[in-house]
């Protein structure tokens, strides 16, 4: 039974991580886009005057989408139409099963690996699920029985076929280097150093593979330079044109889930997953006490700075709006002060004197944080790229997929194989 509980806990953690990141990513997308374009972005929705720099907007959006009327086209294919958003969402979420978000954690004497399912063929599983990901889009586009949605669906299929091959080829190089299909093996292998100073990350040993992989991931998630299935300016909104209300929200969330999956895959395959460079697990455990103390002090300093900034804003913007929003800086300052106080209180517990068990726990948590941090960075990269690059034209997309990435992927594989055979 404990193994079932363990798995459940891990699944819940992954779910919370993904679903929790969705609103944050939506927020980051809108706010980031705004700042990149010299706008202020969403800053209106508030709960009792607290706007969280626009973070309340995703919540309001979700509420709106859930309670909106579900407008459906008459000539839809009912079953497929209703199934498509759920399929998209389910498939998007199911990739997480094989991605390790930490090494292991020891609870009550049990050493629990931090991955939901440690498949022997994890990397292939990822590819398989990713290849299914297109069905949500295709089914939705076809079942809505609209020319634009249909074009979106067709584009999604063609794009998927073209880029999945490059994705697989890029991954094969990596599999050769780490001699395994098991993702935990690949991540664990990236903890080493080469030449004594370079972390043996996938991006270091397979730079071309990394470029191919990240491009393919962008294409598979239908994100900006490859968002032709949506293509607002050409086919209105593509496959989800005829969806509204909760079903639209599901498609929307599925896109962000795909993004998180993509980010997790990139960090797991090419950026060492949960590995912290130059700080392998034994080193982490040995210096856990100092590490924790340093972290707490850092938290105190940073939250102190934030609190001061908020206090200054409270002073400067006194009665700026003349409504509940005026309270916001003071509430913010209070919260940051509380964080600082909490960290200071934790210091009283003498964190530099933790036992070996505590050290292990700290190391595990540090590694989880490292993984989440990498995922957040790559998710941000998705957003960042979206607001930087223009969309490909369809023929350019096909040209890139078949005439550039495919040969490069093959070449990468051959070279890797030859080098591996020689070394």
């Amino acid at each position: 039974m404990p193994i079932v509980l363990e798995s459940l806990a891990k699944i819940v953690f992954m779910f919370l991580l993904i679903l929790g990141m969705v609103p944050v990513l939506i927020w980051a997308e809108r706010k980031g886009a705004a700042f990149i374009q010299d706008r202020t972005g969403p800053n209106r929705a508030a709960i009792g005057g607290v706007r969280l720099a626009g973070l309340v907007h995703p919540i309001a959006d979700v509420l709106k989408l859930v309670f909106k009327e579900d407008v459906q086209p008459d000539a839809r294919h009912k079953a497929m139409y209703n199934m498509a958003p759920w399929a998209a969402m389910t498939i998007a979420v199911s990739s997480y099963a094989v991605i390790p978000f930490g090494d292991f954690i020891t609870i009550a004497g049990r050493k629990i690996p931090l991955v939901v399912a440690d498949l022997q063929v994890g990397a292939l599983y990822v590819l398989a699920v990713a290849s299914l990901g297109t069905y949500g889009v295709v089914m939705g586009g076809w079942a809505a029985n609209n020319k634009f949605t249909f074009l979106g669906g067709i584009r999604a299929t063609a794009q998927m076929i073209s880029y999945e091959i490059s994705m697989g080829l890029a991954l094969m190089g990596l599999m050769l280097v780490f001699a395994s299909l098991r993702i935990t093996d690949i991540v664990a292998g990236q903890g080493d150093l080469i030449f004594g100073f370079l972390p043996k990350w996938g991006v270091v040993v397979q730079p071309l593979g990394f470029v191919l992989f990240i491009t393919a991931v962008f294409a598979e998630t239908n994100r900006n330079p490859f968002d032709l299935p949506e293509g607002e300016s050409e086919i209105v909104a593509g496959f989800h044109l005829e969806y509204s209300s909760l079903k639209f929200a599901l498609f929307f969330m599925a896109e962000y889930c795909h993004m998180v999956v993509g980010a997790a895959l990139i960090s797991a395959f090419y950026f060492g997953g949960y590995q912290i460079p130059w700080l392998p697990r034994p080193v982490l455990e040995a210096h856990a006490g100092g590490l924790l103390t340093g972290k707490l002090i850092a938290i105190i300093i940073v939250s102190g700075i934030f609190a001061v900034l908020f206090l200054r804003r409270a002073q400067k913007e006194r009665n700026k709006f003349g409504d509940a929003r005026d309270r916001e800086p003071r509430i913010g300052a209070g919260l940051w002060l509380m964080v600082a106080a909490g960290a200071a209180g934790a210091l009283l517990l003498k964190p530099w004197h933790i036992g070996p068990q505590g050290a292990e726990m700290v190391a595990s948590i540090a590694q989880i944080f490292a993984f989440v941090g990498k995922v957040v960075f790559f998710a941000w990269l998705f957003i960042w790229v979206r607001w930087t690059l223009p969309r490909f034209r369809y023929d350019q997309l096909m040209h890139l997929g078949w005439k550039v990435m495919l040969p490069l992927g093959l070449a990468n594989l051959v070279v890797t194989a030859v080098v591996m055979a020689l070394v």
Partner: protein, 168 residues
């Protein structure tokens, strides 16, 4: 309109090798956008965005806002229902019904004068067409909102007094 200084057609410039592999240029592009982002995080106040309901742009006196029917000194409309404005109106948004005025010195007056603000394009041609200077777009009101289409059709009384900031 002249296109002087612009190339007559695409230059067809060949990309250099570095450009053709995109990567360097992509990274440069990312640098451009992130610099904007960072700049704007630290200088939120300097952004040109206007916090609209609280702050409002000051428009020129010649801004064409919602219409306004001019009154004579006794409060009756200056309009004589000649329908020049509705004839000239490119959006066909003005509907006027003329009628005999009880005062013999006035002869014709608008029994009804309606403007469909949803159709209006605020071009100001009605002002140009009016022989009596009876219609002006000088209220400066541009916040025209309502929750019902019918409310965008404003009548003579509304246009004569023009007190509300929205629609009727």
């Amino acid at each position: 309109m002249s296109f002087e200084g612009l190339p007559a057609k695409a230059t067809g410039k060949k990309m250099t090798f570095l450009e053709s592999i995109y990567l360097v240029e992509i990274v440069r592009g990312l640098g451009v956008t992130i610099s904007h982002l960072v700049k704007n995080i630290f200088a939120t106040e300097a952004m040109p965005t206007m916090q609209y309901p609280e702050e409002k742009r000051v428009y020129s006196d010649r801004f064409r806002g919602r219409h306004h029917l001019m009154q004579r000194e006794d409060g009756t409309p200056r309009c004589v229902a000649c329908q020049m404005c509705s004839t000239y109106c490119p959006a066909d948004c003005i509907t006027i019904e003329g009628a005999e005025h009880p005062d013999p010195s006035i002869e014709k007056y608008p029994a009804s004068f309606e403007i469909d603000l949803l159709r209006c394009v605020f071009c100001g041609l009605c002002e140009e067409a009016c022989p009596c200077d009876a219609i002006r777009l000088d209220t400066g009101i541009y916040e025209i909102a309502a929750d019902d289409r019918a409310k965008f059709v404003v009548d003579k009384e509304f246009l004569l007094h023009n007190k509300s900031d929205g629609t009727r």
